[in-house]
């Protein structure tokens, strides 16, 4: 990992690199283009104020908050099980992954540990929600670049993993399945076999997308060398997840700092990085990540231990006084909950660190000097979920 030695020099270097990108040999009167809050490419209510010179972006400023739902405040008046249902709605494409770090933080404060079977299933569902999230990205990015068919294939094949999540948890999008001390239920009968089938389908889908989209010359022309984010800049803007790994930083919380309660060390898998840091690298890393996730699921399915799925916890959950921060590697990047408890039924304060909010903070830097179509590539490949930006 590259160290950020001096933040000021990094900032100066970043500013210089950005200014070099703007090419105004022939300056014309600028135009301000308001992308969003209703724009097809922002999939949600993100607004980008872009100042243009011709088709070149002179400055792009993301405005968020159109979908702010006040989750951090709401958590102060909700009990812990209620919060679990609430935070499902943060990153709505990989909902189960939102629950896990919060539950782990609460477990850490209470000193409870889920039984091994629950840990296994938790990890499997976590990776399944990652697949559900990123497989949609792979198609949706194609959709934004004009390749409509990839989008439909993604919706079709995501259904395999959503069906598995639904049959295990009862909820397609918002499982609300994780509990402090374990899980709500055990797995249904035959779920392991059908999950193997679903993962095989997803692996085939990855191959198909690689053929159809990622290997396409036009796609590569639209993404290679576009929106390059060097490693130092990525780190200084607090990027995480695939966006950071695509800049060549070998960083993955699942491997480096896996919180107790998830069993990633029980599977054999690899963290993929890409040296380029461009839109293509971000897509490619996510594609590999989907494959790795399917591999993790398949391995863990074979080694699920038997036993209960719930530890002994009181019926009315009161979390003892204390503070805890637990972060996991969510589909979009690092997602963490800083939970402060005063020993009540409700937390005193919860700070949600969601990945997308930090990921889009780099948009003004990376979009400057790009063209309007490249802005779409950049926004698409940075991959944010609006609910993850505006909690």
């Amino acid at each position: 990992m590259t160290a950020i030695s001096d933040p000021q020099s990094v900032a100066a270097l970043a500013a210089e690199a950005v200014d070099n990108r703007v090419n105004l040999d022939f300056e014309t009167e600028g135009m301000t283009l308001n992308m969003g809050p209703q724009h097809p490419a922002t999939h949600g209510t993100l607004r980008i104020i872009a100042r243009l010179d011709g088709e070149q972006v002179i400055s792009a400023e993301p405005m968020c908050g159109y979908m702010h739902r006040g989750y951090e405040k709401l958590t102060e008046v909700r009990t812990y099980p209620q919060i679990n249902a609430l935070i499902n709605r943060i990153d709505w494409l990989g909902s189960f992954a939102n629950e896990v770090p919060f539950i782990l933080a609460a477990e850490k404060l209470m000193g409870v540990e889920a039984p091994p079977r629950a840990q296994w299933i938790r990890t499997i569902l976590f990776e399944m929600s990652r697949i559900a999230n990123i497989s949609l990205f792979l198609g949706d990015f194609g959709l934004q670049l004009g390749g409509m068919t990839a989008g439909f294939y993604a919706f079709r094949d995501r259904e395999w993993v959503l069906n598995q999540i639904e049959s295990a948890t009862g909820g397609r999008f918002h499982p609300n399945f994780d509990r402090i001390g374990g899980l709500k239920d055990d797995l249904p009968k035959g779920w392991i076999e059908s999950s193997h089938t679903a993962m095989d389908k997803l692996l085939a889908f990855c191959d198909e997308i690689e053929d159809l989209l990622v290997g396409n010359e036009i796609f590569q022309g639209r993404t290679r060398g576009i929106g390059v984010i060097p490693a130092e800049i990525a780190l200084s803007y607090g990027l995480s997840g695939a966006n950071l790994r695509a800049s060549g930083v070998d960083w993955d919380l699942r491997r480096d700092n896996c919180p107790p309660g998830l069993v990633y060390d029980q599977a054999d898998w690899k963290v993929w990085t890409h040296p380029d840091g461009d839109c293509f690298a971000r897509t490619w890393v996510r594609l590999q990540e989907t494959r790795e996730a399917a591999k993790i699921v398949k391995q863990l399915l074979d080694t699920i231990p038997s036993g209960p799925v719930m530890a002994k916890v009181p019926r009315i959950i009161k979390v003892p006084e204390g503070e805890a921060y637990v972060a996991t590697e969510n589909p979009l990047g690092e997602m963490g909950y800083y939970v402060v408890s005063k020993g009540d039924l409700v937390p005193f304060r919860v700070k949600i660190r969601s990945a997308s909010f930090n990921n889009i903070s780099i948009v003004p830097w990376v979009a400057r000097g790009a063209y309007v179509p490249d802005l779409i590539s950049i926004l698409g490949s940075l991959y944010f979920i609006l609910g993850d930006i505006d909690r």
């Binding site: 097809p40 004009g146 390749g147 068919t149 294939y153 989209l213 036009i218 063209y371």
Partner: protein, 345 residues
Amino acid sequence: MTLLLAAFAPPYWLSTLIKVLVVSAVVPTTALILGMVFLFKIMSWMQSRLGPQEAGPRGTLQLLADGVKFLQKEDIAPNGADRWVFKVAPLVVLMSTLLLYVALPASMHLVVADLDVGVFFVLAISSLSVIGVLMAGWASASKYSLMGALRAAGQLIAYELPMVLAVIGVVIQAGTMSLNGIVFAQNTGSIFGWGGIGFPYILTQFVGFFIFIAAVQAELTQPPFDMPVAESEIVSGYQVEYTGFRFLIFFLAEFATAFAFAAIAAVLFLGGWAVPWLSTSSDLYYVLGPIVLFAKVMIVAFIIFWVRFTYPRFREDQLQSLAWKVLIPLALVNIVVTAVLKVVL
């Protein structure tokens, strides 16, 4: 039958009226057919969907239902719009489409106007649509519309040239610019003395065919060249402010133009309305000609739409460099080779 038709010599006003009616009936029909078959059904199958199911048998009337829906919508012009220009723009686009059909031969006599310079007329008329597009983009008083219109203008200028150059090879081979003349030349031609399948020019002009199809794709603003109407970038470009029947006119014009270009490609490269083994002077072509042409059009349209549903979109500058650095030099080489071979052989 020839005698019958020869005896039918209507006065000028009647024949003109018939021609006007035929063209204005054919244009929406072709748009409907292409929209239904390709946009709704084949696209759905390619994308593992079912497509429309409910309206009519197997959803075949869906597009009609949509058309009726469009007609019911309010005709809205934005506040800042240049109202007169805004309202006329779709008609200008449709006009260029209608004029395209004037020169298209469906058999030797089934043609509205058999022009001696049919190829020239068709290529010239097709570029008129960009005026309508520019009018629409400018008059909409929307930034997205303006960007879309300017992209369309740049794109059409860049792709008019390779299209014309691609066709020149055919014209050199046929020795005529009349569309019917090109069909005759292909029907009577022979490959090394063997006239079994006639001589469709795609056999020698495959480079020209490829360039022509690529240029058609760009003229129609279809993916991978759909930047002027890219919905994920500039929200449908110049069409963004249009509602109701004016939007419907854009839609009709787009698909009718696609049909017309597919027909031009079929005439220039695939032998048009004629089939091998049957002399072009046969009376059968009164019936057979339109059917044969339609079949060939569907083949070409399938290629066009197949690419449309498969590829992502180029960036504007990539499109320009493709046109100027690849397609135009390739077309020029094609012309030189064709001309040399025409003289030598």
